[in-house]
């Protein structure tokens, strides 16, 4: 009776996945980003099968081969690295370890940091102070030193590498989550939920986390690049991924001495990192819009009334 134009009943529309696809199609930049990421993930999965051992085959006589020449096979199209290995093949093969390590590190730091931040922001008990001071300690602990210590006590391994990266990146999520919670917990809907008997866990997860998450995801998307690059910095201690395995970060580091003479060695992996980060961010912006009921219309096909 209060509605003027009756809402058409929810006829069997597309499912959640379908709706998301429609939303994705509406934002062309996000669509491009998604396709791009999908390609990278595909490369990560199929890469080794796709290029075989081309990525590790030495070609000492075609060191630093310039890109865009078709003299050699297509796989040399992006040029060759300092040992004459085809950059294209290495990009494809490197995708797996790069994306794997970065995703694991970023995701776990966001998860752990975010959770601790939610707790530290919401509760005023002793442990939230403890969490915060621990975060301060982690923040002031040089990551290189941490890496060294882990290296010496636990030995080099991918898991330890991810642990080091995750720990050093954690405080930013923790503190950001906490800052947002400090404000959100004063909102009335939190009081309302409490008055209904919702426990802290439910309030944090159901009411506060959805509002905190977009910011964390934004940070995480950029952190992807940071983590990839710092992974390569750690590999110089012996903690990072070791040859013959490699990551884009290691490729970039490898080419850093050649920026003036063979720019392509560091450029392509750098570009790959950049594009990944960019795509993730564009997608995270898109996801933010999807998740926000007040913004969602931007992705909808607004049906205007006939006039």
């Amino acid at each position: 009776m209060t509605i003027i134009t009756p809402d058409t009943n929810q006829t069997a529309g597309p499912g959640t996945g379908g709706v998301l696809l429609i939303y994705l199609r509406r934002d062309r930049l996000a669509l491009a980003a998604a396709i791009f990421l999908a390609l990278f993930v595909l490369a990560a999965i199929l890469g080794p099968w796709l290029v075989g051992d081309a990525a590790s085959r030495l070609g000492l006589r075609q060191r630093n081969l310039a890109p865009f020449s078709l003299e050699h096979s297509w796989i040399y199209f992006l040029g060759a690295d300092t040992l004459g290995r085809p950059l294209l093949a290495r990009l494809i093969v490197g995708a797996q370890s790069t994306l794997g390590i970065a995703a694991a590190a970023v995701f776990s730091s966001m998860l752990i940091g975010g959770t601790l931040g939610l707790i530290a922001g919401y509760s005023e008990r002793w442990y939230s102070h403890l969490i915060l001071r621990l975060a301060d300690v982690v923040m002031s602990f040089p990551s290189l030193l941490l890496a060294l210590i882990v290296l010496y006590t636990l030995g080099p391994s991918i898991t330890n590498l991810v642990i080091v990266l995750a720990i050093t990146r954690m405080p930013i999520y923790l503190r950001t989550a906490r800052a947002e919670v400090l404000e959100l917990r004063e909102r009335m809907f939190v009081s309302a939920a409490r008055s209904m008997g919702a426990g802290p866990a439910r309030i944090l997860l159901r009411h506060i986390a959805p509002l905190v998450l977009p910011t964390l995801v934004t940070i995480a998307a950029i952190d992807f690049a940071t983590v990839i690059l710092s992974e390569s910095a750690l590999s110089f201690l012996g903690l990072g991924i070791q040859p013959p395995d490699f990551t884009w970060g290691a490729m970039v580091a490898n080419g850093r001495g050649y920026l003036s003479t063979a720019w392509w060695i560091a450029f392509w992996p750098g570009l790959a990192i950049m594009l990944t980060t960019l795509s993730l961010n564009i997608l995270s912006n898109w996801a933010r819009t999807v998740a926000d009921p007040q913004q969602r219309w931007r992705l909808q096909t607004l049906r205007k009334a006939a006039r």
Binding site: V137, M139, S140, F141, P142, P214, S260, A266, R288, R298
Partner: protein, 304 residues
């Protein structure tokens, strides 16, 4: 308020002490420095003599007790490498880093707030897209890449800036630019995101109904409400810069604490490691207290 600061300060001092203890014992797990200080072909006796000379032959708890005893006299130990008081070394490097970090963070936060707010004010517009993509590209580019290419272009190619070093204001441009990239990119995204939510709030309608100028609505009302995460992230970025901007410091020959810390870690110059951590940790703890106080200032609903 003052009681809060007092409480925080005392907690922080405890944490710093804890941190130093942790660092003391953990660094000793990372190998014996004597091998690093003597030439590779030094004899075992020479190494033993070195260890004895520097007290490295004592059991670690005993070394720690000595360290604490010296701390009481404000003696932070001697640098093995530099033949100087470790604290002197740290304090000499720190201001250089601080200057750099301060300028870079202030500039990037200011710019990011401007750009991010404008982008959020017209989401989906050309400005929004360009600003996002450009800032993100900057943020995810490897910093040394930007630094070296910058030098090759502006110093070697165009000859309008010095390659590196310190001295004139021109020496600041490239280091600051490189340092700003990541904070700027991240902050633009954070500002944009939180501003989008803030701009959809009812109080923005009130502001519009009052006939406020658009800048005032965006930068006064919406911004203030989205400042918490921005301040936090900026603070965290500042922290990571205070901890040292290693790439920039080493490429541009900026005598900062980041490079110093890395060098002393690699060289196992323990006294310097501890002193630098003490200095930076103190700065970081103070910064974090300041940020927490800022929260209450930004949002009156937050009380401690």
């Amino acid at each position: 308020m003052f009681s809060y600061i007092g409480r925080r300060a005392s907690h922080s001092i405890l944490s710093v002490i804890g941190l130093l203890t942790l660092v003391f014992f953990l660094t000793r797990l990372t190998g014996d420095p004597s091998a690093l200080y003597l030439p590779l072909d030094a004899t075992a006796q020479a190494r033993a003599a070195f260890a004895k000379l520097n007290g490295l032959d004592q059991p670690i708890p005993w070394q720690f007790a000595e360290y604490l005893k010296d701390l009481l006299h404000l003696d932070f130990g001697q640098s093995l490498r530099q033949n100087r008081s470790a604290m002197e070394v740290a304090l000499q490097a720190f201001p250089e880093t601080l200057k750099l970090a301060f300028v870079a963070i202030t500039l990037s936060t200011g710019l990011a707030i401007l750009v991010g707010s404008l982008a959020a004010a017209r989401p989906g517009s050309l400005f929004d897209r360009v600003a996002s993509v450009a800032s993100l590209a900057g943020a995810s580019a490897p910093d040394f890449w930007v630094a070296i290419v910058g030098i090759l272009v502006f110093a070697v190619g165009l000859e309008i800036l010095p390659t590196s070093g310190t001295g004139t204001w021109a020496h600041w441009i490239m280091p600051i630019f490189v340092l700003m990239l990541r904070p700027f990119g991240l902050l633009v995204q954070v500002v944009r995101g939180t501003m989008l939510s803030a701009l959809a709030s009812p109080y923005i309608k009130t502001a519009r109904a009052k006939g406020l100028r658009r800048q005032k609505i965006v930068f006064g009302h919406a911004l203030r409400n989205s400042l918490l995460p921005v301040v936090t992230v900026a603070g965290d970025l500042a922290t990571s810069l205070v901890n040292g901007a290693v790439v920039v410091e080493s490429i541009f020959g900026w005598p900062g604490i980041g490079k110093l810390m890395i060098d002393s870690i690699i060289q196992r110059d323990f006294a310097v490691v501890q002193s630098t951590i003490l200095v930076t940790a103190t700065a970081i703890f103070i910064l974090n207290i300041a940020i927490d106080l800022l929260y209450a200032f930004i949002d009156p609903r937050i009380r401690y």
